[in-house]
């Protein structure tokens, strides 16, 4: 197995043993509660409510995990000095970083997979059958995973040189800015003041646009998701993740571990 692969498997094992996947219990409780309650209080829109709630919960649970685990991913290894023995092995620093990133991504994917199963079970409970448009839910979940991959890369980047608290603030700040990226760009349309136009334009082009990854509404209402969006989002996330990993490796490669 490759070096990043070995590190990734260990990172996944750490997450599992730290009982990170216990969040699935809370997700299951939400889904069970929603499925029972929705059937009683809403008529004809049970599917809509369950899909909305389920996908939002998958996204929120995933985001919380990717930010809070991501910001400690490298920091913890430095603080606890577990990194010292590891870097004395034939491991390049970038390989370690990619491994840590891959490990958390694996954890998030497994977590999302089980949550998706929970959502499917709740949908089946309220509808007694699956419909063709339910396939859109899978696309929405895929977009959520792309979003989580991007957020994890941002958290990892800050984790390379900052404390978990600051890294959380920075990552959350970028995420919130990214969610409202289009609105921020539109602000520039209302004024010709350079002090507003240039910074907003800068933010729009630099911060990843997380709004593009939100297909929850489309999946809930059974709308069309253009095939091009699938590839665009994939390429967009891959490009940003690659840039962030390169930047993280550049920062990490020159760090002194005092």
């Amino acid at each position: 197995m490759s070096v990043p692969g070995i590190v990734a498997i260990n990172t996944f094992r750490e997450a599992v043993r730290d009982r990170v996947l216990y969040n699935l219990v809370f997700f299951a409780l939400i889904m069970i509660g929603a499925a029972i309650l929705v059937g009683q209080i809403s008529i004809g829109i049970e599917r809509l409510v369950i899909v909305n709630l389920g996908l939002t919960a998958i996204s929120v649970f995933g985001l919380v995990m990717s930010i809070f685990i991501g910001v400690g991913l490298v920091y913890k290894e430095i603080e606890k000095r577990t990194l010292y023995t590891l870097l004395a092995k034939p491991i390049r620093r970038w390989q370690f970083l990619v491994g840590k990133y891959g490990g958390l991504l694996l954890t998030l994917t497994v977590n999302t997979f089980f949550m998706a199963l929970g959502l499917a079970a709740a949908l089946f409970y309220v509808g007694r059958t699956f419909v063709r448009s339910d396939a859109l839910i899978l696309v929405a979940i895929y977009f959520i995973l792309l979003e989580l991959a991007l957020v994890t890369a941002i958290a990892l980047f800050f984790s390379c040189f900052s404390t978990p608290m600051l890294s959380t603030l920075f990552t959350l700040g970028i995420y919130v800015t990214g969610v409202f990226a289009t609105d921020i760009r539109n602000i520039a349309g209302f004024t010709s003041n350079g002090a507003i136009v240039y910074p907003t334009r800068f933010l729009y082009y630099v911060v990843p646009n997380f709004h593009n990854f939100n297909a929850i509404g489309l999946a809930a209402h059974g709308g069309q998701i253009p095939f091009a969006l699938f590839w665009q989002n994939t390429a967009y996330a891959a490009l940003y993740v690659a840039l962030l990993l390169i930047a993280s490796a550049a920062v990490f490669s020159y760090r002194n571990f005092k």
């Binding site: 577990t82 010292y84 034939p90 005092k258």
Partner: protein
């Protein structure tokens, strides 16, 4: 001539300090030394002497401000060099969610062993450090001494040519210390090079072919332990007592330390005969005359006393 196991040339490390990072503190100052293949080499010095800094520089955990270092002819920047070395950091801390067996297996995976070979090595080295029965216990339940043993096992698991140990005896009980000493001597027998830092000077005297003494980031001396202490002036200690009815001269009593009826005076070799004359004049009974063999510990403490400064790295001026 064969390539030295470790070759350090002018290695210097400054840390930037202060809010604006405009001041620098020198932790290691122009260290130059060579360690030959098959040697057990000790790095001695008080806290802040630069021992751990030296090891971290060699491991690539920190980067030198200036100077170079090579291990078995390869630069310390070369990641492939790490296949030939093992490292035990000071007060090691490992993934506490893993068992000792899992941890060693994890580290062994970086050395391209087959699954069977990995398993065999893990069991062999667990047994070597006396942890076979604790192999399936999570490391969070390990004592400091047990962690030190696991640390030692992971450092030699892949049979490296050069082994770096930072305070290997720290936290070990007497049995553990003896086992660690045996492991180090066994490594030497196999032709491996061991470079270790220690505070425990008796271990260094017992194990090391040569030692380097560091103080405030500077190299104070390199050589065999006996050579190092030979630099110090030799003294002789004389034990004596007064005979019944005979008083000792006041100048003798002033210089001596008394224990019961016995007196002790330590004098440089040159002053021994005048002292003996004085003792004869007082009709004192000489109980013993013995040369004081200086130990590394004496050398070490004299070094620290000489500087009279607290032992920490020195701040340096920058342009």
């Amino acid at each position: 001539m064969s390539t030295p196991a470790i070759e350090i040339a002018g290695l210097t490390k400054d840390y930037k300090i202060g809010f604006w990072h405009r001041r620098r503190r020198r932790s290691l100052d122009n260290l130059t030394l060579q360690v030959e293949e098959g040697e057990i080499f000790g790095c001695l010095g008080p806290n802040g002497a630069g021992k751990t800094t030296t090891l971290k520089l060699l491991m690539g955990l920190i980067f030198p401000t200036s100077g170079t270092a090579h291990i078995r002819g390869r630069s310390i920047d070369d990641v492939e060099m790490h296949r030939e070395i093992g490292y035990l950091p000071e007060q090691p801390y490992f993934y506490d969610y893993l068992t000792a067996r899992e941890l060693l297996d994890y580290y062994a995976r970086f050395s391209d062993f087959s699954a069977t070979e990995r398993r065999e090595r893990v069991e062999h080295y667990l047994a070597k450090v006396g942890l076979t029965t604790a192999g399936n216990l999570q490391l969070r339940k390990f004592s400091k001494g047990m962690l030190q043993r696991v640390g030692l096992a992971q450092a030699i698991l892949h049979d490296p040519q050069v082994i770096f140990l930072d305070e290997p005896m720290s936290g070990l009980d007497p049995i553990g210390r003896r086992e660690a000493r045996d492991i180090i001597l066994e490594l030497k027998k196999k032709g491996r090079t061991v470079f270790f830092s220690t505070h425990i000077l008796s271990d260094a005297e017992m194990l090391c072919d040569r030692v380097a003494v560091l103080h405030q980031g500077k190299l104070q001396g390199v050589g065999a332990p006996a050579e190092i202490v030979a630099i110090e002036a030799h003294t002789t200690e004389v034990f004596f007592e007064a005979r019944n009815g005979h008083a000792l001269a006041p100048c003798l009593i002033e210089r001596a330390t008394q224990t019961g009826k016995r007196y002790r005076i330590e004098v440089p070799e040159a002053d021994l005969y005048p002292l003996m004359d004085q003792l004869r004049d007082c009709d004192a009974r000489v109980l013993s005359v013995a040369p004081v063999r200086p130990t590394l510990e004496d050398y070490f403490f004299r070094l620290v006393d000489k500087s009279q400064a607290p032992s920490h790295a020195v701040e340096v001026r920058t342009k």
